[in-house]
Symmetry: C2
Subunit: 269 residues, 2 copies
């Protein structure tokens, strides 16, 4: 076969095979997937390995294209998907940046509670009070949620979030012990900002997505006291499992939300 000046897909097929072999060498199924998906996977690995840290810029599309030996358009499509999944943020003229919970604009990305008078647009809670931070052994349900074994070491944190002096959210959260070694109530109290930002900068753990299960419940007497409501008050129970890369669960969080002055907002599409 003559080497025509333009036969893009031949080049493509070669790269595809090469990338497939790379995946095969990693012990993954060499199942067929488009080139840009494979490139996306490679970029994901670099994100996960910490080659580029949260807030930093990743190499330009041209650089990545050269590195992976594919066209710039293919890299672009890979980054398009990463951007749609909120793993990176593109900024025209500046570059593509690793997403972070520490940025002002998308702070408290996972907190859907908003004040009823929507003028103060989705700002974070004004006051945060740590109740305690204990080292425990995982019970069966905690272990299941975090993909651990019963009895594995976990950290339990409890705190209250208040808006304008009104305690509104009571949170109880569990973290796997190993990745969060060294986390104390004091460090949590001293940190001023979203807890997920602290996880990124201090422990290198980046939450990329989460699932929430929501119910209406009544508080027990201790919860009622902490939230300053009667035990007959209906409250939102929000159970969240947050995941880092590779769908690895890294946090179980159980929140009780007062919804007398706030509401949980959800956009459906």
């Amino acid at each position: 076969m003559a080497s025509n000046p333009a036969h893009p897909y031949t080049t493509n097929a070669q790269s595809q095979l090469a990338a497939g072999d790379a995946l095969g060498a990693l012990g993954l199924t060499p199942a067929f997937s488009p080139l840009y998906q494979q490139i996306k996977g490679l970029i994901l690995q670099s994100l996960q390995s910490g080659e580029w840290k949260p807030g930093e810029s990743i190499p330009s599309e041209m650089d990545l294209a050269a590195r992976f030996r594919v066209s710039q358009g293919t890299v672009r499509k890979a980054i398009d998907e990463l951007s749609a999944e909120n793993l990176v943020v593109r900024r025209q003229g500046k570059g593509t940046f690793v997403a972070t919970h520490a940025e002002q604009q998308v702070q408290y990305r996972f907190l859907k509670l908003q004040p009823d008078n929507g003028d103060t647009q989705s700002e974070g809670p004004a006051e945060r009070t740590i109740i305690d931070c204990k080292r425990l052994r995982a019970s069966a349900d905690i272990a299941r949620a975090l993909s651990l074994r019963s009895g594995d070491p976990v950290l339990q944190v409890r705190r209250v979030l208040a808006y304008a002096g009104v305690p509104t959210i009571l949170e109880e959260l569990w973290l796997p012990g190993a990745p969060f070694k060294g986390l104390t109530a004091e460090r949590l109290s001293n940190y001023n900002g979203p807890m997920y930002a602290l996880f990124e900068t201090e422990f290198g753990v980046r939450m990329v997505r989460a699932d929430e299960n929501i119910r209406a419940v009544n508080p027990d007497s201790e919860q009622a006291e902490l939230l300053n409501v009667p035990i007959t008050a209906p409250l939102l129970s929000v159970e969240r499992v947050a995941y880092t890369y590779n769908d690895t669960p890294m946090e179980l969080r159980r929140g009780l939300y007062r919804t007398d002055t706030h509401h949980y907002r959800n956009a459906l599409s």
Copy 2:
């Protein structure tokens, strides 16, 4: 200027101006936007005008490219966005289809309540019972939500949804009177399927997105009786505004959900 064999962006700019003029003729701001955004807008108009009906296929990318005098890639990017917004569904080898609430696969798209034991994956409620369907005048809050004036005619529907014989959802919904003229309790009772599918086929109204405000509340005595719970039971209050094309609100729905055997599931990313 000589007509070079390849000067794509010149062609592009011409088309851009042409499309811009078309928009201008419609009285819209001729503000700059990329060609594919303008094409997206034109496709959206055809969807809205009913040129292609829910469930039908729209013209192929090549046909649309010829129609709008742009490249197939530009049409593709426009359809990409419409697909991401769930307005159309692509099927490889078959075509691109207008999305519908009547399809088996995405039925009850807006219903986030799921049974606690996730084995029965997000199926619809088993039994639906219409309580009543009245013609009323819009109160101030109903009017505001539906972008009507106080006193405008609206329809109010109330119904109960049950799972395995257990009444679980009590819904009260308001619709603008004009578009839904002729809707009766009988027609609702006879229809077997999602209410949004009936809206599409019988009234030509397609809901494309919705916003929900969620709270924890206690029922009043009537609500408690209909749901077969004590008035002290905490319930989820889900207030939804559903929109058709052009962000036009077409339904206000207030639901009370029992969350003793079900939960509201939300994916955050």
